[in-house]
Symmetry: C3
Subunit: 442 residues, 3 copies
Amino acid sequence: MLESVRDLSDASSVTDRDAVGQAMYDLVSELFPICRSITGDGVRQTLAILQRYIPLAISEVPTGTQVFDWTIPQEWNIRDAYIKNSRGDRIVDFRHSNLHVVNYSEPIHTTMSLDDLKPHLFSNSDQPALIPYRTSYYKRAWGFCLPHEQLLALADDQYEVCIDSTLADGNLTYAECFIPGSSEEEILFSCHVCHPSLCNDNLSGISVAAFLAREVASESRRYSYRFLFIPGTIGAITWLARNQALTSRVKHGLVLTCVGDVGGFHYKQSRRGNASIDRTMAHVLRHGAMAHEIRSFSPYGYDERQFCSPGFDLPVGCLMRSVWGEFPQYHTSADDLTFVRPQALAESLRTCVEVINVLEHDRMYRNLTPFCEPALGRRGLYAPAEGHGIGNKNLARLWVLNLSDGAHSLLDIAERSGMRFGDIHEAANDLALNGLLEEASH
Amino acid sequence: MLESVRDLSDASSVTDRDAVGQAMYDLVSELFPICRSITGDGVRQTLAILQRYIPLAISEVPTGTQVFDWTIPQEWNIRDAYIKNSRGDRIVDFRHSNLHVVNYSEPIHTTMSLDDLKPHLFSNSDQPALIPYRTSYYKRAWGFCLPHEQLLALADDQYEVCIDSTLADGNLTYAECFIPGSSEEEILFSCHVCHPSLCNDNLSGISVAAFLAREVASESRRYSYRFLFIPGTIGAITWLARNQALTSRVKHGLVLTCVGDVGGFHYKQSRRGNASIDRTMAHVLRHGAMAHEIRSFSPYGYDERQFCSPGFDLPVGCLMRSVWGEFPQYHTSADDLTFVRPQALAESLRTCVEVINVLEHDRMYRNLTPFCEPALGRRGLYAPAEGHGIGNKNLARLWVLNLSDGAHSLLDIAERSGMRFGDIHEAANDLALNGLLEEASH
Amino acid sequence: MLESVRDLSDASSVTDRDAVGQAMYDLVSELFPICRSITGDGVRQTLAILQRYIPLAISEVPTGTQVFDWTIPQEWNIRDAYIKNSRGDRIVDFRHSNLHVVNYSEPIHTTMSLDDLKPHLFSNSDQPALIPYRTSYYKRAWGFCLPHEQLLALADDQYEVCIDSTLADGNLTYAECFIPGSSEEEILFSCHVCHPSLCNDNLSGISVAAFLAREVASESRRYSYRFLFIPGTIGAITWLARNQALTSRVKHGLVLTCVGDVGGFHYKQSRRGNASIDRTMAHVLRHGAMAHEIRSFSPYGYDERQFCSPGFDLPVGCLMRSVWGEFPQYHTSADDLTFVRPQALAESLRTCVEVINVLEHDRMYRNLTPFCEPALGRRGLYAPAEGHGIGNKNLARLWVLNLSDGAHSLLDIAERSGMRFGDIHEAANDLALNGLLEEASH
């Protein structure tokens, strides 16, 4: 699997940022029209497109399967939906936007008065021009979503209402891309694939995860990597129920969502709060150029809710740009292709790559000349510096030597010194090559 | 004992705040005229009045009894005291204010010149209109306190000086109200009863303690409660000396003093600084509507000095509104019935009740479906919320489920979530009733 | 040794601040003209002068000796150096300032054009009027330092260049002043003696260390004291290599440097960050009158780099006034006798003496009446205080009694109470004298 992924990654190197951002955006654009839900063909079509980018193992879990406290629901599929007025005009049309249908609506085809229809119409008076996004997964119901201004303008008429959907026994579908490394220990990335035409909230995470998988596969890695493309909540629960024994291998993880808009980064810590992934994200964001905010864990949000449930307590945080519920486009028709930007997608990918670089290279070393400093100059390891300063390279080497006592990892040293992990890592490499440092066994 | 207290508590429910505040103020008013000291009939009269409110076990400890490093002093009683000028006018009169006599003054009856009298006259030039409060417990002496402006105006005359007091072997008197709960573990409340006509500094604490005892007795409790009405310092030392073995049962405690003025709350932490009572007070005050300040422990103040001495190190803090020594009325005739307010007394009582509610209900639970979230909706435990938010009720349930791993108490969860203890407690109840949570053994 | 030092200390008591400051400044002045380096007669002359103040054990370590990863270099001595123009004028003259010669320059005597000379001339365009200080210890080279404005004005001429130096097998020289105390445990002070005519950067530390040694020797001490006068880096490495077994006795330590200017104090913590010396310095500076700043450890700076290398990890911090590299006079001819002040030297000495006083007297006591407060008044230990306050003396006694549970040292108590160590120490003495406290075994 690793080989085929490598082949795929040749085309667009991550070093070419503009091209990568555009390719990521193109993937979002291609996935945008599909009507996804927590089950059904929308997910399958989405995964089929992703398979052109990365190798995926696709699972189908039958309706009725017990997954922990939950049961896989019936599969939902939809072909068409509309409201026609008495003149036969489609005044609300699924073909125009799949947000018009309450996701998981049961089928209906009938004619009714406006009064009878109104309880099935949903709009948001605060955002009168936008179609809101609404679901009814676990309660059988049907409904339409429409702009509030359209709702107010509806004439007192007889309306033909049609939702050509099916709710029937079938499967829940999800996919994994597993990229083995030299260790069985895993880094997990997860994104949800259950939202219909919403760009930042689901497609951005899918695109970043897919391109990150390509980047990961482009070279040998210490860790194994697992990328999950799963329906929110029920998908995460299903995967955890079927892979419970495997979760002990997950050493670090990130849920990726809302990573395509131009807002600053928001990182939500894992339940542990001080896991390596939490410290690594803080380090990468602190040394990055963009505005960012670290938020502490809360048990509401995306699938970190399940990964961080107390029985698992996995070290999985959540990376976002703008935070769900806090940007006005959230869960509306305005979360569209104009809201996510190629450059923003590329920045999010780059941030994930930097996180991986820290995790891959973080380890403990032992200073082999721990009594006083070694004579760095004699070994050509003391680079001349301008003015009174010592210079970054020299300082990084002194920090690594000083703290490599078998109790401080390179990330610990980067944190204490205030220097970039990359500088500390390079210093450790130089010192190790010169026989001044050896890796400490854990 | 519990039964009779319950009967008493029927009349004025704490829910009727105005009525309760007035009743608390009435008690202060009734106690105000009595000349209390660390021993003597003033304390006995005070306790006799309190017995109309709550059941009290009264102890009399004889003069000369050794209590740790201290000895119970002789009992002091006073009937009258005055200074008369040569025309026979009582220019300083104990009947007008018992603050006029230095508390514990030995008896005297003689005539002397102003010059000879002056060393026995005490005033405060910074507050020239007020009578200061002064004591001489452990050094035999006599004296009068008077407004500085009156002192300055004293004519060069012969004065008849009379203090009709007795200092004689007797007893030190204190009282306890014990309300047994289902556990032997105790919550201790303590207030001093040794100050004469001073309202905030002693009568407010007495009133809050008495009404809190009534409230405690009004329902079954997990903890046993002990309310001490004791003379300051020597009374606390006496109680501790006679009940040393019992102190291991004290799991939480509060000294109540200066809780009747309208200032913001001040909580002085126990010596431990992070005891449950410290965290609980901080939680209650943080979520309350009033200004407040948390102060760290110091070994000076009220009887927390003794409870927190290193041999005991009890988790006992001190709740105040304005802090002794920091309000101008402190230890003067201005700490009178105009300085304490019914509403302020009721607020202090309410704060204590909230503290008790947290302590009573704080415990650890274990999530019985720890792997992923349980399906709350199926159980009717996922209440619909407005907008994108999850709603307080749902969020509290998710927090309780997420952190109920046997290592976090409900107060821990309230602190980490930033939610009110009451919401967290209610969520735990709902989840436990639905079989999703069970109490963890300690 | 202790005796002779005592004799020396009679002349100028530290209590006479002005006289002491002047004496310290006089020592700096006497040492200023000497051309010191990491080896050679400049160090020997410096130590010979110091021997008039304190007893010194002087070590000579031969060229070629291996000290950990380093080798003692050849000894450098210099008699004269100059650049003469074609008219025979000494336009750069070692006799005017020894900074003119790159320290450790190999000998040369030749005539050359300006173009050939220029690669050997060093100046600083940012400080055009000053001679910079430059060394070439471990790379054979020769050079002159001069003001940038002089360099720019040099005519196109033939120049006679002479450095009458020798680089030959010899010794590295350092000195120790050891003052035994009642314990083998040591407090270490270290300063470098390898800089030529630079006042703040080396002579100030030497002067403070010498006068501190006199002060230490003036009375019996609990700790033994060791003062090192050593060449920077190679000297510290040499001492550590030859005294490795002894380092376990070092319980506290300070590197003294740049302690003669009038800037605020800067204390750089030891690698441990929370060692007694770190807490003590913070306490002394916090209660001092002067501006100060605490900086965390970094592995660059003075000889704390070696003392805090991971194999030793000694609790050694670094006391400075202005910080090396941050004041414009640093490593230039402006770090001269006008830059250090008698008063500043005396303040630095006083700060060190206060640090010693804390370290000497910090210990744990046990309250012998731990249950409630003892009756202080009966023992004459409760001093009357003004107003409502308790007074510093009484409060310090209550703090010591409250926290003397065998787990808090006097410094712990001073920190928690916010009181001065001296007050806490005095309280402990008073209580111990009255049988209320006994020293706790560690």
